[in-house]
Symmetry: C2
Subunit: 508 residues, 2 copies
């Protein structure tokens, strides 16, 4: 170990945009992950675990501009490998590799990596958790889609969010058809779509400027778009669009709107229609969606003051910001994601998102007919909101402390075996302490600790009469003030010695 | 999605030495991981999750020759990063970063990566699972060490291994002291130690040749070593060594042997002494051990015929080998690990291993006094053995199938909402089916399916009198042979229609 000198120089930290998870944060994280997984399992989701890295070519060309965020591994004389960017593409790769599978409900709980600008305050890390549910295989229109949305609602209700979220809905076909009707050229569909997607964070003027000035859209086309993308609603909006002759003359938009109408019928059957909001400005960044898309927004804005991501030295990275400031800045126009990255008062954005992607599997296995629809829960954002709510005094029954330690210290002469402190399981404790022949156990329990007390128990008493004689002391133990523990132990140990002497005398 | 042509050419597979986990394999894996984690949690282990990659310098110089197996990431204008090689060094890095933590029982369940030659048949992959328990912080000699060994035994008993394993024990101080007494020069300590470590797989002659011919040890020194490393036993061996004056004159060996004697007292107290075997040939490869070391060996050899790791096309990679062949080859002398890598009949080796490493934390934070002792369970090997046992007919109650699907199909005219098949949770099913107004539900339950039967149930009956009239049909549903389901449904639907007509007539 003679390398200490060299090691001393090194910076002690985790890699940029990553963090360790321990103690309270780990308990909160685990509570969230376990709860979401359980709900998904109960809805027949089967877990699939894929490697953290894929062949580079598996990920290539699947994420549009975001491909630049993929972590590549060094070529070490073998394959070109990349850390996965999401859990969706590996699922599609797996489906393509397993042509015998025609129908699958997939659960995945795992980390993904994006070499993005980290913004700890927003819960945006380079290594983060996703929890995905995907339905693969043909089904009648909107059947699987509606079930996924029902499960999303079930997840957030089980998490105790109590309706404090909205599932925003749109459909790629409605969106693209609408753009076509407005006169957006085909090569500008995705860029304009991605500009529209910013409307939840930026005002129309800002988005319009991006469309016209940056992306070269005709101003009158942009203004037509405005007439649509400001529309939000429920079944009423579907009915309104059904009366829009221009839109209904576009085959894509027509199909999308008709299926959206069907979806609302099913959502009513699932009793979740009050949780959804049809929003024509929702676009979603990823290329592979082909039908319905959705995004779950938490209804509160959060400044993430409670999100104490440890920095390299273990301190909290974000000072607590007063809520006012957060409210004030909320509507600040921001066009580029980079501009927002260091602003801790930005709202959390979506806590879950997904949609239908019918053609992704056939990217890997041509002519495969494995339509899919899925959702990805943004665990780190859910975690950040949960932490903030806990800080405000909310309780979540699925988040537990570490099991209370029960301490047993056993005293006696030459009883080294019994000096092990801090044993966890009472039964193991007793097993050990009694085998070691310790006459006394000190038990520090949750309840007692609160009162500054602990229990002292006589151990190793087998004789029933003796047990009766000793009463509470040999049963649950007697409760003693912590300050008195030394005195009490000495007194009891003297008693024990006296007993042992008497016994050994009577044996003679 | 016009990239199909390009994509068609790509090889559809996971990266070399990695695999997907799904369905039965995933259930077995999850059963094992959950069981081990639960036992460790019950023993007060708290989960720590670290990033999959660390700064390159964190891992550098910690693994001796094996450092060449570390996966490095491409430098992308930022930090030099490496995928973690084990869960121990990241734990030490975390302890060093958190100087306020003086005592910790750490649980970790996660993947690690080693760019080793994959040998699927032996369960050796490049991406694999470890489950670690580590105690950090000072404790009296062998207290924590004995508890870790007791927990190892508890883990394998809880896994249902029923004593079919041995915990091999040794101590680095005994080993090094013994080498010194035999006359091994200091610079040859670790190389000779690593040669000795091969004695479980190769005969003495082979190991001696490596020591003398490859590593330049004097022949008479090698022969002295033989006198020690063939020794195996329990407390008796400790006592034998305590009478070895040459050995007891070496301070390192003396301390090691005295503490080994203490350890055996504690192991007796834990009632696990029959599970351990003191073996002077156990050396362990890693550099960082400073005291006790241990390795758990499964008592059976396995050819891993049941370990059906899927290859890129989903087929099983290893043809089943007859047991005879495996037995025959078992004793084949092999000096270099590389030589064994393609031999599927080699025994599985250790299923858990660990030891005391008192100086690792101070590699990151000089003068830190955080002695540690820990164990790492080799999940993929435990998985491989479990699969083989399952194939032989053994049952493990902690491995469950996916929850039985319950199918509900509801019939009716223009009732698209109710045509969703394969719903998982009966209550959700009924909720949906009844909300949709379906008059009949078909329930495929586990019990009925075994008998080629299913249940048909009348849904949506609110009226108590009506429920009473319909009896079983409106309660649990009537049991019907699968062949008769069409006929029965038609009959019942006719009844429903008749009722509805009567109702509508009576309302007029």
């Amino acid at each position: 170990m003679g390398k200490n000198k060299q090691d001393q120089k090194q910076d002690l930290k985790t890699a940029k945009g990553t963090r360790d998870w321990s103690d309270e944060d780990q308990n909160v994280l685990k509570g969230i992950l376990d709860t979401i997984s359980r709900v998904i399992r109960e809805n027949a989701g089967k877990e699939l675990v894929t490697p953290v890295f894929e062949l580079e070519e598996v990920l290539k060309g699947k994420y549009g501009e975001d491909s630049k965020l993929i972590y590549d591994l060094k070529d070490q004389g073998g394959e070109a490998l990349s850390l996965r960017y999401d859990l969706t593409v590996p699922f599609a790769r797996w489906l393509a590799m397993n042509p015998n599978i025609s129908n699958y409900k997939r659960l995945a709980v795992d980390k993904v990596w994006r070499r993005d600008q980290p913004a700890l305050a927003k819960g945006r890390l380079r290594e983060f958790y996703q929890c995905d549910l995907d339905f693969a295989g043909p089904s009648d229109p909107m059947i699987a889609d509606s079930e996924i949305i029902a499960i999303i609602v079930e997840v957030f209700e089980t998490l105790g969010w109590n309706g404090r979220y909205t599932v925003k809905l749109n459909d790629r076909r409605v969106l693209d058809g609408m753009f076509e009707v407005c006169g957006v050229p085909e090569d500008k569909l995705r860029p304009i779509s991605s500009a529209v997607d910013k409307l939840d964070k930026a005002p129309w003027e800002e988005v319009r400027r991006e469309m016209v000035e940056t992306k070269g859209l005709e101003p009158e086309v942009a203004d037509k778009i405005k007439g649509y993308v400001m529309l939000k609603g429920g079944k009423d909006l579907v009915e309104k669009l059904q009366k829009d002759e221009a839109l209904m003359a576009n085959p894509k938009a027509k199909l999308g709107i008709e299926e959206m109408s069907l979806l609302f019928r099913y959502l009513a059957a699932w009793k979740v229609v009050d949780k959804v909001n049809f929003d024509l400005s929702l676009a979603r960044g990823l290329d592979y969606y082909t039908g319905i898309i959705y995004e779950v927004r938490a209804e509160e804005s959060t400044s993430f003051s409670a999100f104490d991501t440890p920095t390299s030295n273990g301190a909290t990275s974000q000072p607590e910001k007063p809520k006012q400031e957060s409210k004030k800045k909320e509507k600040k126009p921001v066009a580029e994601d980079e501009d927002r990255s260091d602003d801790p008062s930005v709202t959390v954005g979506s806590v879950a998102a997904g949609g239908r992607y019918d053609n992704l599997v056939s990217r890997f296995r041509p002519n495969a007919n494995v339509p899919c629809v899925g959702v990805s829960f943004g665990i780190n954002r859910i975690f950040a909101i949960t932490k903030e709510r806990i800080a405000k005094g909310e309780k979540f029954d699925y988040i537990t402390d570490n099991a209370m330690d029960v301490y047993v210290m056993a005293f006696g002469s030459d009883m080294t075996e019994s000096r092990i402190a801090k044993k966890p399981k009472p039964n193991v404790q007793y097993k050990f302490a009694e085998t070691a022949g310790a006459p006394l156990g000190i038990i520090l329990g949750e309840e007692e600790e609160k009162n500054g007390e602990l229990r002292i128990k006589r151990l190793g008493i087998q004789d029933e009469k003796e047990k009766e004689r000793l009463g509470e002391l040999a049963d649950k133990g007697i409760v003693v003030k912590m300050a008195d523990v030394g005195k009490e132990c000495r007194r009891l140990l003297d008693e024990v010695k006296l007993e042992q002497k008497t016994q050994s005398l009577s044996l003679k």
